[in-house]
Each structure stands twice: as structure tokens, then as C-alpha cells.
């Protein structure tokens, strides 16, 4: 990612000044990155789920377009932040609507994103909705720590990448991550797995 950092900032500048070719290139890049992220989230799934990351990637890309991350001409830090936010929104919104449709007792329609949500919750041992709520609380305590968690968990970024991205030291990121993870673990408690897996 660092190898292309200048390209992205440059592309963003061109997009902001209305260059459509740059926009297509940037969209291409966003697609690649989102696909890499989604692929990571789905890595443990069976191969017959190939269609589902497509929906995840497409929807996250649509949200990114909607967030105007591509058009605002901000730097690449903003771009990757927007990407992590888009992923988080898509996954959490979907987890919420999935739960709502179950609670409502209505016919449980299998949405294309369900498998992604389930796989991620199982793999990271986490309930996405509870995590989202806890992250909002963490923002009150420390906005930066909440960002570190979001970039790492939803943006799939490594510690050095996050340090670079937030313009802080690697050791600060590590400290933030350790503290935030321990705190989130106390917040989410031990019962989250039952909830994540839903009713039998």
C-alpha cells in the first residue's frame, strides 16, 4: 500500500478537479482494495460463497461513492478511513437487519451478505452489532483508539500502516490496540457468541 501512496493522493486531487479518467482509476483501485478486504473476511468460507463478497464489495463501493470520499480531494488517509467506514457500515447495517428480520419472526430471507456477516462473527469471535455499539462508546473515551480498532478490524490495515495513516508512532498504535482490545473484551462480555450465532 505504501508504494502507491503518492499515486492515491495524486489521483484524489485529480478526481476533485473533475478528471474522470482519474476517477475511473481510483474506483478501480478502491475495488481492488475492497476485494482484498472482503476476500480476507471470507477466507475461511467454502468456495461456493464466491458470489457473496461480490455483493459486499459492490455495496461498500457504492457507500464510498456516496460518502464523497472519492470526490472531496482529501488525502489518502481520508480515503482509507472512508473505506474502513464503508465496510463497517455495510457489515453492521446488515447484521442489524438480519437480526431484525429474525426477531420479527417473518420469513428469514437469506440475503447475499448473511454468510459474510456470519463468517466474520465466527472467525473473530465477535458480535458485529455489539462491537459497533462498543466502538461508539470508545469514541467518547478516545477517538483515536476507536479509529485504530476500526482501521485494523474493518479496514484490514497492519500496525505500521495505521501508524502511517494516523501520523502517530507505531508503539502508540500498539498501546492503543492493546488497551482498546482489552476494554472491548470487557464490554462485549463472554456471552456474545451465543448472540452472534442467533437462535438455533
Amino acid at each position: 500500500m505504501s508504494g502507491t501512496s503518492r499515486d492515491i493522493t495524486q489521483l484524489l486531487g485529480q478526481v476533485a478537479s473533475g478528471d474522470a479518467a482519474a476517477e475511473a482509476q481510483l474506483l478501480d483501485y478502491a475495488y481492488d482494495e475492497l476485494r482484498r478486504l472482503a476476500g480476507g473476511m471470507m477466507r475461511r468460507e467454502r468456495p461456493d460463497h464466491t458470489l457473496q463478497p461480490t455483493a459486499l464489495v459492490n455495496e461498500a463501493a457504492l457507500r464510498m461513492l456516496g460518502s464523497e470520499a472519492l470526490a472531496s480531494g482529501r488525502d489518502r488517509a481520508y480515503f482509507f478511513g472512508a473505506m474502513a467506514t464503508a465496510m463497517r457500515r455495510v457489515l453492521v447495517d446488515h447484521a442489524r437487519s438480519k437480526n431484525a428480520s429474525r426477531r420479527g419472526g417473518g420469513a428469514y430471507e437469506r440475503q447475499p451478505l448473511n454468510a459474510v456477516v456470519e463468517s466474520l462473527e465466527r472467525d473473530a469471535q465477535i458480535d458485529l452489532i455489539a462491537l459497533d455499539d462498543a466502538l461508539k462508546k470508545l469514541e467518547q473515551l478516545s477517538d483515536r483508539q476507536a479509529q485504530v480498532v476500526a482501521l485494523r478490524f474493518f479496514g484490514g490495515m497492519s500496525v505500521p500502516q495505521i501508524a502511517d495513516h494516523l501520523d502517530i508512532g507505531v508503539s502508540t498504535v500498539e498501546k492503543d490496540w492493546r488497551l482498546a482490545r482489552a476494554w472491548l473484551h470487557t464490554q462485549l462480555g463472554d456471552g456474545q457468541l451465543d448472540h452472534a450465532q442467533g437462535p438455533p
Binding site: A20, L27, L51, T54, N58, P112, A124, V149, K175
Partner: protein, 628 residues
């Protein structure tokens, strides 16, 4: 960051660096005056150990290897190389299987071509087969005048296959139309050719999947050509399994602005996807802008089938358009002037058939779009020739049905309540008619019982009299006296079958008549009522022995002859009667139990049936929505 949280973080960090047995003493010193702080840090430390053990939020195992950078390598070794008669000049595209180069013909530098070359290392049997299929399909498609032609195919020295496509020199269709200020009809004629070409590809089992203005080029002489069938999907299974699993190229095989809802969802694609994209192109060419996306998320697009705004409506809004590689704002008047008309004129032209045609092409449900690009093309032709088009606006019924489908629960409740209420009103009006009849019948039965009782009594008396002394019956009592005695009899017998009672009350009975009744409250009130001249009848609904009843009294007034008889009779206890004076009250007591019971059970039935109807209609609506 709050100060307290910062302090928690510091202590947590320092404590975790210490060996486990030194943490407690350390925290005891640091948090000497704040036991809550100490508890918080201790909880975090414990949680940290547990989280590590369980792999809580362990993102590392989710990390995927990063993709190679998209920025093209500085130098592609293929550039400048020769393939057959062509020299590769510039890379203009890349795909999963191979790259696309711009090349020139060696002996004629002016003739430019596009060459797709299979990537190195991609020469597996499988991929070679796919590549050959692509060549075969492109060769077939190239026969169409509006699809880029396949010029040549071959193999490089190191055995990699390539094919040579006509490099279309032209402008994007939207730029071409604006540059030449084409009218709506001219634009439609151009679009019709494009749609026809797409139909041709569909007939050759190829779906383009990425139709957009930049893939539709128009030459200076005005001939449109479709390019970039490189990512096209072949629909017939025997031509390759590209239909089955999406390959990595497919992530890029979508331009969100032109992608259909099913494409965004990642569903399997059909020719309807191309029809949708052509519909968006139609919007852009005719009204100068694309419809706003009517769906914002995958799950939403699955259920919501909201119609986008009409072209004639969009034409009145300023547009953000792409000109010469830049996005610029364009006013409705400018948009119209590029179409040789005024803003109002443009809206008028688009209204009606054209609006309907574009909307039919971009319906959210693939099945409800034009059945084929061919049908779309024919419809454009019909419009241009002034014939009626296939596309019609959604009928009132369809609109209603969509609304219902989007809101099944509220509609179900509303329908159930409406039908239930109508049914209830009908049932209740029916019921009230029944109750009126039943009550009338009960009243008549009681009356008849009374009369029959009186008749039987009088007959018996006459019989008795005749038996005792024949001929004496002619000297029977006058009717008034008889009536009094008849009611005295009824009173003695107390009641009819349904419990109705009759009472004869008088303040001044004859001495020889026994059983002077007590003057109760009702009688007093009734007498006062009669004597004050307010009327000759009086009633009250009261509970008698806890049973709801009707007490009905009528005035018994003295006639002239009655007065003479009473005033002169030796047994009379009052001798100053005057005609018209109230002598007493004839009272009928009717228990209402039977009537109330009848009404109650009728209402119960009414409510039960209303419930059945409401639940039934609600269920029927839900079933209908689910199954249609």
C-alpha cells in the same frame, strides 16, 4: 481523550509490562486513593489475558495478502514489440486473462488496432480454451456493422495467443451527440442502432455487461460501434463455464452508474442486465443525465422497486455531465439547446412514450423490463415511425399492487379493518332488523296471550252463568266492569309465559273487591303523572328482583256513566267522581331478560364474525403478497 481514561491507559500499559506477581503491589501504590481506578485496570488486565487466549478480534488471521499495485509498471516489456504485422504502442487495458494494447500496422502507421494478448503464465488448457472461445465469439459478433470487428488472431513466438480488434476511432456516443447538437429523433436513431447491435450479441449468446457511453463510440461519419466485449459473458454453457463462477476480472466488470440492481447484488446476469444499462444510456442521451440510483444498498434493492424519476422531470433539473474528461454543471436550457430545442420543448418531447420506454428499460425487476434488446430496438423504431409503442406507464393496478407489496403489513391491517368494518355494519344492520322483528313478535305474543286469557275467562264466566241459570247471561256485567274483573283475574294469575305481569291498581276500589294492592313508588309517580295531565301513559325501565324489566302503566279514567254508577253505588267508598278523573293505573310489567339475551348473543355473534373476517382478509392479503 478524557484524563481519567488516559490515566487508565498509562497504568494498564505499565502494569502489563510487569511480571504478574508485581502487578498487584504496583497498582496498590499507584491507586492508593482510588479503588475504582484500580478495579478498572485490574479488569482490563484480566480481560487482556482472556482476549489473547481466545484470539478475540484476532484480525491477523483474517488478513489476506495484498494485491499487486494497480499503478502500471513503468515499462511493459511488450511495448515496442511486434506481433505479426503489428507493433505494440501503448497498453490501454488489463484484464484477468490478458492485457489490451494499442498497436499500429507496420506498413501503414495510420491504421490502429487493439490487440488483446494472453498474459504470461496464463496458458493453462482451461484458459486457452476460454481465450479461443472469446476469439470465436468476437469473430461472430464482428459481422455486425455496429460492433468492433475482429481483424486477426495469432500466437506469439513464446506460444501465447492474441487477437487483433479493429480500433474504433470515434467519440463517446454522448459527446458525439452533444458535439453535433443532435435532436432527440437523431439521438434515438443512433441509440436504436446500438440497441440492435446489443440484440445481435445476445442472439450470439453474449452479454456485454458493461455498456456505457465510453464503450459506444461513434465515428465522424456517424456510425456507432460497440467496443469492449472483452469482459462479455458467454451464456451458453458449452461455450465455456464463464457463466458459473465469477472470475477476478468480474469485480471490475461493473461501472456502478450503469449497473443493474441484480449486477450490484452479484446475482447471475441475463440479457436484462444489458437492457438496463441501455436504458441508463437512453436517459443520458435524451435528458442529459442518468436517473439517480433508486437503491442505496444490496438488501434494499432486493425489496424496493421504486420507479426512478421520468426523463421529462430530470430534464428540468441542472445536470452534472462529463465533457472532454471533465465534469461540468449544465443548466436545463443548455441541455435543451444541445438538442436543438428549448427546455420546455425538451420536456414536452420526452413526456409520454419516451418516458415510458426508458422506465420500462430500467425497471428494478429484470423480468419486468423489455423482454429483449430486440423488443427495445423495435419500440424505438415504432416511436420514430409514429406507431404505438409497447411501453406503457404502470397501470393504476400495478401501482397499487407495488404499494401493497412494499407495505404488506399496513396494507393488510387497513384492508382487514376496512372490510371488517363494512362487514360489521352490514351484519349489525341485519341484526337490528332481526331484533326489531323478534321483539315485535314477543310483544304481539304477549298481547295475544292477554287477549286469549281474557277471552277464555269471559267465555268461562258466560258458560258458568248459563249453566247456573239459563238466559241469565244476557244480564252480564257491562264491559267496563268486566274489563276490570278480567285484569283482576290476570293479576291473580300473575303472569304470562314469558313472565309478563299485569297489575290493576286503584286508590279507590269497591269495598267488595279484595286484595287492594299496595301503593308503590311507580304507581304513585304514574298517578301524579296522569293527574297532572301530561299524558295517559307512563313507563320506567327498572330492576325488579335484580332482573331488568319494563313497567308500563296507562291511565284508567272515569267515564260519565261510570261516575253515575260509582257515585250512587252503596259499596263505593268515594261518591264524588267526575268524568275524566283518574281512577287507577293499569300496569304491565315486562321482564327484559329474553330481549337482552337475544341482543347480547346477536352482538356476540356479530363480533365473532367480524373477527373472523378481519383475520381472514389480513391473512389473504399476506398470502397474496407472498405468492404473487
Amino acid at each position: 481523550m478524557t484524563d481519567r481514561w488516559q490515566r487508565v491507559g498509562e497504568l494498564f500499559e505499565r502494569a502489563s509490562e510487569l511480571p504478574a506477581d508485581q502487578r498487584a503491589p504496583f497498582l496498590a501504590v499507584e491507586c492508593a486513593d482510588d479503588s475504582e481506578l484500580r478495579r478498572e485496570v485490574e479488569a482490563l488486565l484480566a480481560s487482556q489475558a482472556d482476549a489473547t487466549k481466545r484470539g478475540f478480534m484476532e484480525t491477523d488471521r483474517m488478513a489476506a495478502p495484498p494485491l499487486p499495485s494497480v499503478a502500471p509498471p513503468a515499462e511493459d516489456p511488450m511495448l515496442g514489440q511486434r506481433l505479426g504485422n503489428y507493433e505494440l504502442k501503448k497498453r490501454i487495458g488489463r484484464g484477468g486473462m490478458g492485457n489490451v494494447y494499442l498497436a499500429t500496422r507496420c506498413e501503414d502507421y495510420k491504421q490502429r488496432v487493439a490487440i488483446k494478448l494472453l498474459k504470461r503464465g496464463m496458458d493453462s488448457e482451461e484458459i486457452l480454451r476460454k481465450f479461443r472461445n472469446e476469439i470465436r465469439v468476437l469473430a461472430a459478433l464482428g459481422q455486425h456493422p455496429h460492433i468492433a470487428r475482429l481483424l486477426d488472431a495469432g500466437t506469439t513466438d513464446d506460444g501465447r495467443p492474441y487477437f487483433v480488434m479493429e480500433h474504433v476511432e470515434g467519440k463517446r456516443i454522448d459527446e458525439y451527440c452533444d458535439n453535433h447538437r443532435l435532436s432527440i429523433r437523431e439521438r434515438l436513431a443512433l441509440l436504436q442502432k446500438v440497441v440492435g447491435a446489443v440484440h445481435f450479441a445476445h442472439q450470439h449468446t453474449v452479454i456485454h455487461r458493461d455498456l456505457k457511453p465510453s464503450n459506444i463510440l461513434v465515428s465522424e461519419s456517424g456510425v456507432p460501434k460497440l467496443i469492449d466485449f472483452g469482459i462479455a459473458k458467454i451464456t451458453t454453457p458449452e461455450l465455456g463455464d464463464e457463466t458459473a463462477t465469477p472470475t477476478s476480472t468480474e469485480y471490475r466488470a461493473m461501472t456502478p452508474d450503469y449497473a443493474s440492481p441484480e449486477q450490484i447484488r452479484g446475482d447471475s446476469l441475463t440479457i436484462a442486465t444489458d437492457v438496463f444499462s441501455l436504458g441508463i444510456v437512453m436517459f443520458e442521451l435524451l435528458c442529459g443525465q442518468r436517473p439517480p440510483r433508486t437503491f442505496a444498498s444490496v438488501s434494499e434493492s432486493a425489496t424496493a422497486a421504486i420507479e426512478p424519476p421520468k426523463m421529462s422531470v430530470l430534464a428540468a433539473r441542472p445536470a452534472n455531465v462529463y465533457v472532454g474528461g471533465q465534469h461540468v454543471e449544465r443548466s436545463p436550457a443548455e441541455t435543451a439547446s444541445l438538442r436543438q430545442t428549448s427546455a420546455g420543448g425538451l420536456q414536452k418531447q420526452l413526456r409520454g412514450d419516451l418516458d415510458n420506454m426508458a422506465l420500462l428499460a430500467v425497471r428494478a425487476e429484470p423480468k419486468r423490463r423489455y423482454a429483449s434488446a430486440g423488443q427495445f430496438a423495435v419500440d424505438i423504431e415504432r416511436f420514430l415511425e409514429g406507431e404505438p409503442v409497447v411501453a406503457r406507464p404502470l397501470s393504476r393496478r400495478e401501482r397499487l399492487w407495488r404499494t401493497i407489496k412494499r407495505n404488506p403489513l399496513p396494507t393488510g391491517v387497513a384492508a382487514a379493518l376496512l372490510v371488517g368494518t363494512l362487514f360489521g355494519l352490514l351484519y349489525l344492520s341485519q341484526l337490528s332488523q332481526q331484533l326489531v322483528r323478534k321483539t315485535a313478535l314477543a310483544g304481539a305474543t304477549t298481547q295475544a296471550d292477554f287477549l286469549l286469557g281474557g277471552h277464555q275467562y269471559y267465555t268461562k264466566v258466560i258458560g258458568d252463568v248459563e249453566k247456573a241459570s239459563p238466559g241469565a247471561a244476557s244480564a252480564m256485567k257491562p264491559p267496563a266492569t268486566y274489563t276490570i274483573e278480567q285484569f283482576a283475574y290476570l293479576q291473580e294469575n300473575r303472569s304470562t309465559k314469558d313472565g309478563t305481569q299485569a297489575r290493576l291498581l286503584s286508590e279507590y276500589p269497591f269495598r267488595n273487591r279484595a286484595g287492594r294492592p299496595p301503593l308503590d313508588a311507580f304507581e304513585k309517580t304514574a298517578l301524579a303523572h296522569f293527574e297532572s295531565g301530561e299524558g295517559d301513559s307512563y313507563h320506567e325501565f327498572v330492576d325488579i328482583d335484580d332482573e331488568p324489566s319494563l313497567r308500563y302503566g296507562i291511565a284508567m279514567r272515569m267515564g260519565k256513566k261510570c261516575c253515575e254508577c260509582h257515585n250512587s253505588h252503596p259499596d263505593s267508598i268515594k261518591t264524588d267522581w267526575e268524568p275524566g278523573q283518574v281512577r287507577g293505573v293499569l300496569e304491565v310489567i315486562r321482564p327484559l331478560e329474553a330481549d337482552l339475551h337475544r341482543t347480547r348473543s346477536g352482538l356476540q355473534q356479530a363480533f365473532a364474525w367480524m373477527g373472523v373476517v378481519i383475520v381472514g382478509v389480513f391473512a389473504a392479503v399476506l398470502v397474496a403478497v407472498r405468492w404473487r
